[in-house]
Amino acid sequence: MGAEFVQFSLTPMLIGVLAAIACALPGNFLILRRQALIGDAISHVVLPGIVVAFLVTGTVATMPMLIGAGGAALVAVVLIEAIRRLGRIEPGAAMGVVFTALFAGGVLLLEQSDTSRVHLDVDHALMGNLETLIWLRASGWASVIDPVALAHLPPELPRIAIVAALMAALTVIFWRPLKLATFDEGFARAIGLPVSAIGLALVIAAAVAAVAAFDAVGSIIVIAMFICPPATARLMTDRLATQVWLSLAVAAVSAILGYVLAGYGPIWLGFDSSVSAAGMIATISGVMLAIACLWGRARGRVTPVA
């Protein structure tokens, strides 16, 4: 746990944990509202968003990419809603139409444009590059309070930290309306809450989290973290507050354990190279969900009274 850990593992781990938390927070409400697959749809349309941003600006700078991804997410949400209403199509199918078509468009644009000289490809979009977000300027734990070294943190870290903090703040501030609109829409409407606006805001918040996390860790973790930690927590408790806390714990444990196993697991087993951290984090969250499915206290439709 010395200098090498701080240089090569601390920042990717922190970014993984923060990305997992940023996605798991809105995920709790999406799961309860049966909109879990919005995260899936958003993470697919991020690709056309960044490709268009690249074609417009000609660079792989972060801000245009994030704006492009966010714009694409918004376009997708609006399109899904429009198709659902205009065509009277069930939401699942409307979602399937929109995100596959946009994703296909993104792949085609990517193939057609000259992106060979920049690091922009489908694999990267899917799998992220968590392992490369290292902090070379760090020389040990002392660097954590060294402003010179801190200035050279990978920029993904402060970005995802801000988004995670934003998600946490939004969850705390809008706790009551979110809870009411999620569990009893009719009652929420009756006491004058803007239920549709809350629903839309939740989806937009999820999109922001997805785009920020995607930038650092790729879409696999984004989808897994939207769903697995909240689902795991949901199988363990009936109380929303407990569920949210539990989901954060599951998200953090998945990220840390997944990263460690991906980086060191193969070495322990005698291989000389590591495996995909993003994939491993998703896998660990799945294992935790499987455990909760088998033994979670509140896994059934009716919770036994303790």
Partner: protein, 404 residues
């Protein structure tokens, strides 16, 4: 352009022709079985299955390499894909049945975890010496360029088999998809037919991996039925249309992508399907957006027409520009807003019909008839001439209106 014509006419080489035929058959099969999925509201289950193929592909590769092969046998890889997709499907069903999680959460969980695990296995394969040129990433987005002859045959034969199975099973599957309760009452084995449906979807997913890739294969299962839904309310026709949309997308897409190296097959097929969907969304009769807008305009015009006539009859001033325009266009008023003879006659008639409706609603207890009063339905459509004569007798003789 000549290249495209060649490809469309299956003249662009033996492999390309086989791939095009395979893609067409796959599109037809995906469109029709997707319709069953869509009607069962399980469209996105196929997404979980498609993503769940990845670890199976990787494991099959590792096993084949372990046995000394080069791991590139397509049939072997597809077998692995099918097995792990089946496990994924089973897990989605298990989670929905045995826990409180809803289907969308189960789908998302299976999809992301299997895919994540598949990526882990892919990185393992990349670290093996022999796996460097494995090209397993091609299954993510499909790739037909450089496809071996035997692979093309596999796709064409697989596509033909699936289409044949659908033709055989279409009646029971239609019944179950449309009304499972009724199908069960008829004595059909609903569970087994559902299983057959998912089996077909599984087969399509696995065959489609090579052409469209696992991320986009669900587009072929979802977009054609959603497109067909715009054109008809009948299941049999919906199946036919969805099959045609899927087949056309597969055929044109495969042909188009054979003409240029930078036109990837999968995305092109999906985009053609999406184009057909967009056309339908806007221009389909009755359910399309344009039809809905026109119907709304017609309805609006009828409301304004009636309000205008009643105002004429009651000699009230009309200010609404749309009402004035409609009355003027029909010749009910002169450009200066004064009612014409024709307008006065129509106005008198509509006022009289209002009185008739008042009487009808007062004396008739049958709400199935009087309930049709919405101000727009002509009274002649609801009551017989005798009944209307009876209402007229109660109202009394016609009164001149609109005359100063």
């Amino acid at each position: 352009m000549a290249g495209f014509l060649d490809a469309v006419l299956l003249q662009a080489g033996y492999n390309a022709a086989l791939v095009t035929i395979g893609a067409t058959l796959l599109g037809i099969a995906a469109g029709t079985s997707g319709t069953f999925l869509f009607l069962r509201k399980r469209a996105l289950v196929s997404d979980a299955m498609a993503h769940a193929t990845l670890p199976g592909i990787a494991l099959a590769f590792l096993v084949m390499v372990g046995f000394g092969g080069d791991g590139r046998n397509l049939a072997g890889l597809l077998l692995g894909a099918g097995a792990s997709a089946l496990i994924g499907l089973y897990l989605v069903d298990w989670i929905v049945r045995h826990t409180r999680l809803a289907e969308d959460a189960a789908i998302g969980a299976v999809l992301s975890v299997f895919f994540g695990f598949g990526v882990v296995l892919l990185t393992v394969i990349q670290s093996l010496d022999r796996g460097r040129q494995a090209g397993l990433e091609d299954f993510l987005l499909g790739a037909t360029a450089g496809m071996l002859m035997q692979d093309a045959v596999l796709i064409a034969v697989g596509g033909a088999l699936v289409v044949a199975l659908i033709v055989i099973l279409r009646r029971p599957m239609t019944l179950v998809a449309f009304d499972p309760g009724h199908a069960a009452a008829l004595g059909l084995p609903v569970g087994r037919i559902d299983l057959a449906m998912m089996g077909l979807v599984l087969a399509i997913t696995v065959i489609g991996l090579t052409l469209v890739g696992l991320i986009l294969i669900i587009a072929l299962l979802i977009i054609p039925p959603v497109t067909a839904r715009f054109w008809t309310d009948r299941v049999a026709r919906m199946l036919l249309i969805a099959g045609c949309v899927g087949g056309a997308a597969g055929y044109l897409g495969a042909a188009l992508s054979a003409t240029a190296p930078d036109l990837p097959t999968g995305p092109i097929i999906v985009l053609i399907a999406a184009g057909l969907f967009t056309l339908s969304l806007f221009f389909a009769p009755r359910r399309g957006v344009l039809a809905a807008v026109l119907a709304r305009r017609r309805f609006q015009a009828r409301v304004h027409w009636r309000q205008g006539l009643l105002s004429l009859a009651r000699a009230e001033p009309i200010h609404d520009p749309l009402t004035l325009r409609i009355l003027r266009a029909a010749g009910a008023i002169r450009p200066d807003g004064v009612a014409t003879d024709k307008g006065r006659a129509l106005a008198a008639k509509s006022l009289r019909d209002e009185r008739r409706w008042d009487i009808a609603r007062a004396i008739h207890q049958d709400t199935a008839l009087t309930g049709r009063y919405d101000g727009l339905t002509p009274i002649e459509e609801v009551f017989t001439a005798d009944q209307i004569a009876d209402f007229d007798a109660r109202i009394g003789a016609p009164q001149p209106v609109g005359a100063a």
